[in-house]
Amino acid sequence: MGFVMDGLDPEPYDRAYSDHQLVRRIAGYFRDKLPLIGLVAVIIVLNSIMDTVLPILISGGIDTLAKGQNVTGAGLLIGGILLAGALSWTFNYGRQRLTAQAVGDVVLQLRADVFAGVLGRDLSFYDEYRSGKIVSRVTGDTEDFSNVVTLSLNLISQSLLLVILTGVLLVINLRLTLLALIIAPIIMLCALGFRRIARLTIQRSRRAGATVNAAVQEAMSGITVAKNFRQEGRIYSEFRNVNEQSYAMNLRSGFVFSSIFPLLVTVAGLGTTVVVFFGGGAVLDGQVSAGQWYLFVQAISLFWFPLTSLASFWSQFQQGLAAGERVFALIDAEPRLHQTGHEPVPTLAGRIEFRDLTFRYNDQETVLADFNLTIPAGQTVALVGHTGAGKSTLGKLVARFYEYQAGELLIDGRDIRSFDLPTYRRHLGVVPQVPFLFSGTVADNIRYAQPTASDAQVATVAAQVGGGDWLAALPSGLATDVGEGGRGLSLGQRQLIALARVLLQDPAILILDEATASVDPLTEAQIQEGLDLLRHGRTAIIIAHRLSTIRDADRIIVLDHGHILEEGTHDGLMAQAGPYAHLYNTYFRHQSPDYQPGSGFVPVRVPLPALAAEQPA
């Protein structure tokens, strides 16, 4: 019996499907498997009949023996028992095999569909939902759905046994059947009541368990601090307390779980006692035969299992359906990007033009309003401004990660909405703040965008970035395994790899979001050298956080709440003593090697309007 009770939070993109829709949808997936499903249904019926025949035959055998000592009749019955057993096993075998096949195929199809659905979403979808949730829909929910199909088929076969057997018993004797069935509601009530209590205790002991885990997690992450200050004894005594509490909770839930089976077995035993007594009486009154009496006694133990499974079935079934619903919702979600055409983009010069563009992530807040900016091909533009000024938004719109609400975005004078996105995006090189690496080697990652690139090509670009001496710091050079998500490498190394990846891709437009986190000075120097190389001959949009990058840019654009306040070069803007000088005092002053706390301010004549409080990015 499964007690699946994980809490499942609904997501906003969930839609409620009516039962009718849901069934049709599910049936759609099974349509190709119709003959298979039909076969399974037939087999299930045959299987249940055979399972019922077995005790009936034995009871018949007892009657034969009790009456006439007819051994040939008994021999025939034994043959029947063997045959029924063999057939029942064979049918069961067929049912399980065929079910596995049908369910396996359906789930595969479902997973392919839902994965395609996920890939088709634009970036706003990924912003809204944590990756864990998305993954659990694609694999976990489809798995739950398949479990429920298997479970239902098992249960149908068991319930069928219950129904057929009850029918046979009713034909034999009504009163005795009703007496035997007395235990049915009691067992169901016990099982249901137990589930309710169990759910509560599980929640409590889970909570206690989570506290213990949190204590262990905290101690293990902070072990260095504890060691440095010699405070191990203190955290140990704290751990002891939570461990003791969790023990008390676990013990309580253990008692709950340990009570249910003795209870159910006792109820079944009471049922047997009732049937033995009243059945014996019925035999004495001549209402039933001894063999039939035996069948009634046996029936109790045959009833027991399906009844307890039935109690837990309904909630499992609902959860499976809910899982199915979540999967379909993901497949059916409306796309938010609207392309007007699919024109291929064979080459690109890299001229970017925002014309009266308006964009918002959600209804509350407009990020860009009537925004105008033209970046000629080949220019390096550094975007500066506070958090929320709209710097990264510009890059993401050029990458066509989001849909804008009004205005135009032209690339080389053509509407970005008319592009075939895959061919267009091949001309974009994007380096995010924290570059993502795929599991595999450094070389695999450099060649990710150009899977056909040769080892020599990879080695060449890697050597070009930052003079290539960062490769020496990697344990096996280009063959170094980057670990899960690049965890084996430092942030600086990941950025260098991302730069090499883009260099190999050779895009027309570079969009780079500089890391706010600091990188060791030497790696920083290598990244700067790599960046110098990469932006050469391309349009580059850099969301800049480094003083050195800004100073090297062709053009600095100061953004505030989606508006351009000022633009020019570093020296020119410093001389203007306007918003840029103010930003310099706020963000870049301390990056100078000559910085000392409280010093290095530049004069500001024009105060920055609506200066938001400093916020860490």
Partner: protein, 598 residues
């Protein structure tokens, strides 16, 4: 006696040589519960086997030439008592089992935790926190379910089998023929089944993991996937993994379908019936006894149904125990050295031809330098150049391989660990704060620090201002009700924590980035206060800090390639010059630095 960095005086010790011994020793700590649980199970099965006997005698009574209703009622009453008694015994033995399982779980977790606290930093660096969590949470729970219901049910079904056979033997020894043959065949079939299922089920679980891992990667890296237009590559990867899982799923279903024991049981029932009927016709067995016999045969079903599950639990438990033991057995390299050198420090650090490797990877080779008391030494080098490791050798987070590290002229290995670590403070790059109040976090470094001392330290660390900005001030619990701290705030708390212990030697891994100059002003002021009068090894990404340090060490590939003051290095060291290269105004002559006056 094994070495430990931390020990608890009165802790219980367990035999850690093998998983079986270890679990046995844990169980034997609670002999009474063990006795109740096992004795109860034995009694339970005897009572359970009596039930078919009673049913048989009811049949005998009814089928007698002159049956008596009173006798039938007596039998039914006995049965009622028996059923209730059985239930009671069952509950008692189950509760004893629960006590046992939950206590062992608690003890094992405690043992693991204690042992983890005593392990060296080398060990902790090797382990991912996630892995340790999996042991402490998952594996310990696995041991609990191995005992209850695993071992408990295993013993129960085993006893049930033996007692059922015993009762059949008592009925008539020759009736044992069918059940014995059945038991043997059943055992063989079960082994065959488990051997076939295990690899498939294992492969299926693994493939599910692969499927999930690949998918997680695609989803987390979606920006890269989309901008490099590699959707097809990802789709192909996913479909391959999903198809492989589907194949294993079907294979798994086929193996499960071939589970033979139910077929064996029906054959056994037929055999038992044949044998019984034959004896009956010969007049050597009553019909009642035949009914008892058949009902006892039915009891075998319990052992059949439950055994795979319990064997599986037992196996999982043993594997979990083995994993925990691997962790427990790990030797630690250091010990507390309670009897070692203990004295107030002046703060002179000398590295004398120090070499250190991590496994077989050399991290530091032949490093020599001297820091005079009160000096600040900045260490510059790429990731992996050995900077952090170098600083961790000072307070013996790691022990070196060759050479010497002297503090005030005494080798660090001769210092008592308490005295050494008590006077050397570290501010790590990844600052760890505990989810408790701010005051407790600052006071963590010194047990029993007064409120005034904590607030003074916070003020020196430029943290007092923002702490008082919180509604609950120093009592604010970090991480609760949305209280999150910025990097700069965390760093200032760590500085306050270090200031409270007033260390002579400070190791400062100052690599967090301040996003704005105002915060930076505060942090730098706090750091200046912190450095006063202390010897400091400083790892920093801030060019200005490197510039103003008394001495700079340039590390590359674990070797000191140059050392000296900023000006000296700028004049002679290419690597060092490269660092400052992007900060020269375009076209300006090399040595002159940007000067933007306020």
């Amino acid at each position: 006696m094994e070495r430990r960095e931390f020990t608890v005086a009165d802790a219980a010790r367990y035999d850690q040589r093998s998983p079986v011994r270890w679990i046995a020793m844990h169980l034997l700590r609670y002999k009474r519960f063990l006795a109740v649980s096992m004795g109860g199970t034995l009694l339970l099965n005897v009572l359970a086997a009596l039930q078919p006997t009673l049913i048989g005698s009811a049949f005998s009574e009814v089928l007698r030439p002159q049956p008596s209703r009173d006798a039938l009622a007596r039998i039914a009453l006995t049965m009622l008592g028996l059923v209730l008694g059985t239930g009671l015994v069952d509950i008692i033995r189950a509760y004893a089992g629960e006590f046992l399982a939950k206590r062992v779980e608690r003890d094992a977790r405690d043992e693991l935790y204690r042992s983890l606290l005593g392990k060296s930093q080398t060990f902790h660096n090797r382990q991912r926190v996630g892995d340790i969590m999996a042991r402490a949470a998952g594996d310990v729970t696995q041991i609990e379910s191995m005992i209850m219901p695993g071992l408990d049910t295993l013993f129960d079904s085993f006893t049930s089998l033996i007692i059922t056979l015993l009762f059949i033997g008592l009925l008539k020894p020759e009736l044992l023929l069918t059940p014995l043959v059945f038991t043997v065949l059943f055992g063989l079939a079960l082994r065959h089944y488990v051997n076939h299922l295990r690899p498939v089920a294992g492969a299926m679980r693994e493939q599910f993991g692969t499927l999930n891992a690949g998918l997680t990667e695609t989803v987390t890296g979606i920006e890269v996937v989309k901008t490099s237009a590699q959707e097809d590559q990802e789709r192909a990867k996913f479909l391959t993994a999903a198809r492989r899982y589907r194949d294993l799923f079907v294979q798994n279903g086929a193996v499960q379908a071939r589970y033979l024991p139910p077929l064996l049981l029906s054959a056994a029932m037929a055999g038992a019936f044949l044998h019984g009927a034959w004896l009956l016709t010969q007049g050597r067995l009553s019909l009642g006894a035949l009914v008892t016999y058949l009902a006892l045969m039915g009891n075998l079903r319990f052992a059949v149904g439950i055994s795979i599950w319990t064997f599986n639990l037992a196996q999982l438990g043993l594997a979990a125990a083995e994993r925990i033991l691997t962790l427990l057995r790990e030797e630690t390299e250091l010990d507390e050295n309670r009897a070692g050198h203990s004295a107030p420090m002046r703060g002179e650090i000398v590295f004398d031809h120090v070499t250190f490797r991590y496994g077989n990877t050399p991290i530091l080779t032949d490093v020599s330098f001297r820091a005079a008391p009160g000096q600040t030494v900045a260490i510059v080098g790429q990731t992996g150049s050995g900077k952090s490791t170098l600083t961790k050798l000072v307070n013996r987070i790691y022990d070196i391989e060759s050479g010497r590290i002297l503090i005030d002229g005494t080798d660090v290995r001769e210092w008592s660990l308490d005295s050494l670590r008590g006077q050397v403070s570290t501010i790590e790059q990844d600052i760890v704060l505990f989810s408790r109040s701010i005051a407790e976090n600052i006071g963590f470094s010194r047990a029993g620090a007064s409120e005034a001392a904590i607030e003074a330290a916070a003020a020196d660390a430029q943290a007092d201002g923002f702490i008082r900005g919180f509604k609950d001030g120093y009592a604010t619990v970090i991480g609760e009700r949305g209280v999150t701290l910025s990097g700069g705030q965390r760093q200032r708390l760590a500085i306050a924590r270090a200031l409270l212990t007033d260390p002579r030697i400070l190791i400062l891994d100052d690599s967090t980035s301040a996003v704005d100059s105002a915060t930076e002003d505060l942090i730098q002021a706090a750091i200046r206060r912190l450095l006063q009068g202390r010897t400091t090894l400083l790892i920093t990404h801030r060019l200005s800090q490197i510039r103003w340090a008394d001495q700079v060490l340039v590390l590359q590939g674990g070797r000191v390639v140059d050392q000296g003051t900023h000006d000296e290095l700028l004049a002679r060291c290419d690597l060092y010059r490269r660092i400052f290269a992007h900060h020269r105004p375009a076209g300006a002559p090399a040595p002159e630095l940007v000067a933007i006056g306020g």
